[in-house]
Symmetry: C2
Subunit: 146 residues, 2 copies
Amino acid sequence: MQKRTDHEAALRRSGLKSTKHRTAILDILEQSDQPMAAEQVYLELGDQKIGVSLSTVYRVLESLLDKNLVTKLSMSISGDNRAYFEYNRKSHRHYLVCLGCKKIKAIEHCPLKNYEEALEREMNYTIEGHKLDIYGYCPACQEHEK
Amino acid sequence: MQKRTDHEAALRRSGLKSTKHRTAILDILEQSDQPMAAEQVYLELGDQKIGVSLSTVYRVLESLLDKNLVTKLSMSISGDNRAYFEYNRKSHRHYLVCLGCKKIKAIEHCPLKNYEEALEREMNYTIEGHKLDIYGYCPACQEHEK
DNA sequence: ATGCAAATGCGAACCATTCGCATCAGAGGA
DNA sequence: TCCTCTGATGCGAATGGTTCGCATTTGCAT
């Protein structure tokens, strides 16, 4: 985990003012092993006795997103319509989503490097990146089904 | 393209009544080369002089989704918050999304079969499927950037 | 310390989607 | 073919996540 001062530095480098809300939100997202919805972040801030309005949470998340300090997931977890955010660790990540309990696990290895290059040649696209979500049932949920 | 009677049969097989709205919506989605938002479907129905209310479009899409006759994309195209639907051709599809013009191309080949199997063993998950979206710039948009 | 632009709080507005309820229309049986 | 009954539809209101307007506050450069 990064130290708080690193978050402050990252904010400044991005041209954003460093405020307690922004550093707190970066801390929360960094320490979460799950992507979080805006409201979850808001509630966590409340637990930490950091008073903040929900619209500020949305605005902070939006500016962090602009600066690529966080990323927004494009998948719809558990069928709700909420957006989920996560700390941008700058490493290439993919997700393993459990269809039973809806837990999300990040997986490190990416099997797509070669494929992207082949696709660039074949389709004449310039490939910038990709998102890969894999769906299945985790060990615990496989148990429950029996 | 399937004939309309096939759509009627598919509806019946799924236990849904065959109505002109449902067959029309299946036709529209089948003939579209792009996933469509509910409102786009609604407007297209209007163009075809098929009177329908927007809530019916939503309800039809939902029941078609239940029966797996259409699928719902999990990606957020062009940053809007709308859901996109497409005809379920039952073949494995991935998407190449142009970051410039936001056009979406389906690509057929899937490079992930082996990877899924390896992941099952490694993580003890039962893998049911995956979604893969690849982002880049199409040939036309590469031109514009110059 | 001072001033200005950026950040925040609060509530209202927005917009895609869903719901309630009255009406209508397939699909099967008489 | 006609009846009936359940499921489908229309309409408008409600919902819920997200965004906006504006007055106030707060970083941070000077």
